[in-house]
Symmetry: C2
Amino acid sequence: MNTTTEIPAEARTDARRFAMANALRVLALDAVAAANSGHSGMPMGMADVATVLFDSHLRFDPKAPRWHDRDRFVLSAGHGSMLLYGLLHLTGYEDMGEDQIRAFRQLGSRTAGHPEFGHAAGIETTTGPLGQGLANAVGMAIAEEALRARFGARVFDHHTWVIAGDGCLMEGVSQEAITLAGHLALSRLIVLWDDNGISIDGKVSLTDSTDQRARFEASGWVTRAVNAHDHADIEAALAWAKAQKQPVMLACKSHIGFGAPTLQDTAKAHGAITGADEIAGAKAAIGWEGKAPFEIPAAIRADWARAAARGAEARAEWQARFAALTPARQAEIDRVMAGEAPKKLASAVRKLKRRLAEEAPKMATRKASEVALAEINPVMRETIGGSADLTGSNNTRTADLGVFSAADRKGRYIHYGIREHGMAAAMNGIALHGGLAPYGGTFLCFADYARPSIRLSALMGVRTVYVMTHDSIGLGEDGPTHQPVEHLAMLRATPGLNVFRPADAVETAEAWELALSAAGPSVLALTRQNLPAVRTAHVNRNEVGRGAYILAEAEAKRAAVIVATGSEVEIAMAAKAMLEAEEIGTRVVSMPCWELFEAQDETYRRRVLPPGPVRVGVEAAVRTGWDRWLCGERGSAKKAGFVGMEGFGASAPYQELYKSFGITAEAVAAEVRRLL
Amino acid sequence: MNTTTEIPAEARTDARRFAMANALRVLALDAVAAANSGHSGMPMGMADVATVLFDSHLRFDPKAPRWHDRDRFVLSAGHGSMLLYGLLHLTGYEDMGEDQIRAFRQLGSRTAGHPEFGHAAGIETTTGPLGQGLANAVGMAIAEEALRARFGARVFDHHTWVIAGDGCLMEGVSQEAITLAGHLALSRLIVLWDDNGISIDGKVSLTDSTDQRARFEASGWVTRAVNAHDHADIEAALAWAKAQKQPVMLACKSHIGFGAPTLQDTAKAHGAITGADEIAGAKAAIGWEGKAPFEIPAAIRADWARAAARGAEARAEWQARFAALTPARQAEIDRVMAGEAPKKLASAVRKLKRRLAEEAPKMATRKASEVALAEINPVMRETIGGSADLTGSNNTRTADLGVFSAADRKGRYIHYGIREHGMAAAMNGIALHGGLAPYGGTFLCFADYARPSIRLSALMGVRTVYVMTHDSIGLGEDGPTHQPVEHLAMLRATPGLNVFRPADAVETAEAWELALSAAGPSVLALTRQNLPAVRTAHVNRNEVGRGAYILAEAEAKRAAVIVATGSEVEIAMAAKAMLEAEEIGTRVVSMPCWELFEAQDETYRRRVLPPGPVRVGVEAAVRTGWDRWLCGERGSAKKAGFVGMEGFGASAPYQELYKSFGITAEAVAAEVRRLL
C-alpha cells in the first residue's frame, strides 16, 4: 500500500483546522464507502476551504437553521453532498445525526445522493444539476440586497457563499448568473471555485481552456487565487472577499481526492472511492489511523462545536435587534419570510373580478395579467417582477415598481436580460431566500431555455411564478421557432407544477391569486392575441381553483361536452352556438389548470365531465396528455375527439394560422357531429 | 418630418457599397412595413457589414447553393431575417424572388418571420431562439475541420461566418459555444457581433456590463473592434479575421435602425418600423428617394450580381478539383454530404443482432449501445461521437475513434465538456454542414439543458442522435435531480423526434440502425442497470422499426395485453408469467418507439393492440401520453390501467426504488386482475 501521498506542508501548519477538515474528509470517505456510491473526491479537496469558512466566517446557527439573517451557503457542486452533510453533522444540526451520515444515499434518509431542499435543515437549495446552485445564489443575493433596502441592515445583513466546481462554470447558466450578478454588483455574493482541474472525462484541459478569473472579471467580478489547502491563505482570502464592493470569485486551487494514494488529482477520484487500500491510504496520509469508520475524536468534535457556537452570539444580537422592531414590523417580516400571501390579496382579486365581469373587456390574457398585477402589486409588496428582455411583450411591469439595480435596491422589477435560464434559477434563489415573491416573464416557447430551473422549482416546491406569454400559434408571424406546441404537455408532465391557461381576464386574475398563494411554482400561459370575456357573471368563488368547471351548460338536451383551455375557450363557445342551433345540446368546460382539477374529488370531476355525452377537447397544442381527460382513467367518455396541433406551427398572421391548422369552431362542431 | 439623421461620413466614402447596403436596408424597411410585422432595425444596422462580407469575402455561389465547400453564413440574430432574405434575393438565389420578399411573414412564403432551414436555399440553419445559430456555427466549423482532415483542403476549405446580436451573447448557450470553439481552436469560425447597444427592454447597459471582447479572449478567441458603417474598416477586419489561428470575434459597433429619424439607436427600432414618416425619413437619410417600395435601381442590382458572380469562379475551380478525385471518392463524399447511411450499416446490424440473440447477454442498454457502436463506427466512418463529460457513463466512445481536438482533426470523438446545450447545438451544426453523423451523450434528465437545441433538431429535421442514458429511477442513488420522470413525455410530445426506449441489446441495435438511417433526430433512452435479453430468437426484420410489436403472445386464452418500454419490458414479462400461471392469457407488447408505431397503418396497430383484452401500460415514468395507447383514439381497450411514476423519484439503490414506487411485476399483475 502506498501511503506516501504528498500532503502540502501548508495544510499541516494549522493543526486544528487540518484535523477539522480531515473529519470532513473521513466522513465523506466512510459514507461513500458504506453506500458503495457517491462522490468522495470533491469533499476531500474542498474540506479545508469549507472548514475555514464555517470556522470563522459563515454566519450561521445550527440551533436556528431558518434564522432570517443567516448567511446562505450553497453547494452548487451538489455531487459533493457529503461535504455539506459532514458540515451539518459536525456543527450539530439536530436532524443530521450520525444515523443520517451512515444512511447516505439510502431510501428515506435525509442524506440523498445530492442535497435536496427540505430534506434537512441547512440545505438551502437542491443542487446536483450543475450550475443551478450558483445561479440560485444570485437570486439569494438579490433577495438579501432587496430586503436590506426595505427592512434595514439591522434585520438583513448577510452574505451568500457558493462552492462551485468546473462543471458549474462550464454550464451556460453560469454565464447568465455571473453576468447578472456582475451587472447588479452583488457584493455579498462570494463564489469559491473548486479549481481542481478535473472533470468526469479527465483533466479539464481536455475540454476547456478558459481563463476563469479573466472571464469573471470581464463581467465585473473581482477574483483572487487561493491555495485551497493553506488555511492562512484561505482565511485571508475570505476576509478580503467580504470587504469587496463587487461579487467575488476565489479560485481555490485544490487537490481532488486529497490524500488518496493513487487517485488524488485524477478523474477517478471524482466518483466513489471504495477500494480498501485507497481509503486506508488516504486516511494514513492525513494521519487518521486506528479509528473505526465514522469515528471522530472528541477533540475534533469539540472544535467543530466551537465553530457552531460562534453563530449563536451573532444570532442573539440579531434577535435583540429584531425584538426591538414594532410587532407589526416583526409580523410582516415573519409573514413574507414564510411565503404567506397577505390577506388583502383575496379581496383585491375579488374586487378586480367584479369589475372585469362588468366591463367584460376584450383583451389578451397577457394584458389581463398586467391588469391583475396592477391591483396585486400594491397590496402584496413582496412581489418582485421581471422579464427576460420581453417586458413590453410579457406585460410584467406595472407602475411604481421601480427597477432593481446596482443603484436602486428598492426597485421591484428586474430587467433580467436575455437570460431565461438565469432568471428562472435566480427566481428559485429569491424564493428560497424568503421574503419576496418572484415572478418573471418570457415567451412560453422559451420555457425550454429555463427548463432545468423550472424542474427544480417543482422538485423543491418553491413559489415562483412563470409568466409565459405568446402561448400558441396565436403568436402569429414570428413563426414556429416562437410558437409552443409541445410546451403545455412538457410542463403538465412535470410533477408539482401548476400550469394555468386562463381563458379571459377574470380567469387570469383568479390564476394569479392561486399562483401567489401556492406553496409551489406556477406557470401562467397567456395569449398575445385579444380574447373576448367569457366570465361575465361575477362569482366570489375562484373557479380556476377547481381546475375545470362548467362555463356554459347545454341548452338543448346534453349530447356533447367541449373541453377547452385559454384562447380556445372562445372557439368552444362558438362551436357550442353552432351545435345548439342544430339542437345538439353542448356543454362547454373551461379547464384552465389540469393539476387542480386532478386534485378535486371524483364526484366533482364526474359532474364536470359526465360519461354519457361525446367529448371533444380543443387546444392549440399537441394532443399529448389530453386523452386522460377525454377517455382515460380520469375521463370516461365513450366517444372522444380532439382538435389541436399535430406538428409545428408556421409564420403568418394568427387568424390565418388558426384556419390553416383547422383549429376553428367549425372544426370542433364537425368533430362533435362526427362522434355523434 | 426630421430627415436630418446623422449618417456617419465614413459610410458614404464607398458609394458603391453604401448603395448596396442601402438596398438591404430598404428591402427590410419595405418588407416589414408590408407585413406590418418583423424587425427592421437589425438589418439596417448590419447592412454595411453584410455587404462587405458578401461582396468580397463570403465564398458562395447562388447557382449552387448546396456546394460542399461553400462558406457557411449563419444569421444567429434570426429576428433580423430580412437581412438574410435581402442578401439571398439580391445575390440571385432562384427561389428568393421579389414575390417572396413581398410575402414576408405570410402563410406559405419562404420568408418566415425567422429564417427556417429548408424553406429556401442559402438558409443554413433555423435561427430565432437566441444563441442557437452561434452554437450551430461551432458545429459547422468542427465539421469543416474534420472533413478537411479526412478529405483534404482541395475539397473542404471554407469558413463559417456568424452574425450574432447581444441577445445571442447573453444566452448561456453562447458561453458553451464560445468556450468549446476556443478550446478547439476553430480558426475558421468568425463571429460578427452586432454591437448596437440595444435590446428589447432598452439599452444593453440596463441588463449587462460585460466586456464582451475580454470575455471571448478569456476563452482563446482573438477580437477586434470594427466600425460597422466604415466599409474600409470592415474590409480590413474581415481580411484580418481570415488570417487568424484562433476563432475570431469582431465587435461591430453599429447603429440599430440606421437612418431612422427618431428611432435610430433606440429599442423601438428593434421591432417593426412602420410609421410612414419614419420610413420616409430613413430612406431620405440614405439618399433613397423617389422610389417605389421594393424598387432597387438596376445599377445596384448589377453590383449585387457582380458580388454573386465572384463565387462562380471559385466554385468552378473547386469543381475541377473535385472531378479529379476518383469516382469512388466523389461518390463517398456525395453520400456523406447527403446524409445517407452506408449500405454496410444494415448488414452489420443484422450480424450483430444474430450474435446477440444467440448470446442473450444480460446488460444495460447503455452498454448494448456501446456494443452496437463498436460494430457501426467501423463501417460508418462519418459518425462523430461525443458526450457532455459522461463518456464512461454514456458508453459513447468506442475503440479507435480517436479524439477530435485542436491537435488532431481526424479524431471522431468529441469531449464536449459539461455543455449539454452547446453539444446539442453543435451537433445540429455538424449535421447541417453535412458529411458527418453526430451523436452525443448525456443523462436523460439533462435533456432539459439541451432542450432548445433538441427542439430545433426536430423542427429542422436533421439527423442527430441523442444518447441519453440513466433513463429512469433505475439510475438509483443519484436521486430525483438525476432521475427523469417527465422527460419521455416531453420528448414524445415534440413533433418530428423519434424517441427510442429499447428493452434489450437487440432492440438497442435496431434503434441505432433506425436513428442513423433517419432523416430526422432521434433520442435513445438507455438504462444504467442491467436488463435480461428479451429478443432471443433472431429475425432479420427490424422490429423496432414498427414502433411496437408482439414480443410474447398469450398462452392461455388472451385476456390481457401489457404494453411496456425499455427496462419495464422485463417487468411485463414477469407479470405475464404470473398471470399465465393463473390461466390469464397475457400478451406482452414491446413499444420502443411511439412515433414509429403511430406511423403504422390502422390494421397493424389494431393487430398489436386489439380492443378486447384489458390493457395495462408499464413504464417508470409519468403517465402523460400513455392514455392514447391505452384507451385513446389510437387505443381502444375497454378497460385500461397504468403502472408507473406519479411524482419525482428518490435516492436509493434502484431495486429498492422500483419496489418503493410500486413498479413491479406484482403490481402489474394486480392491475390486470383488478381490471378483469
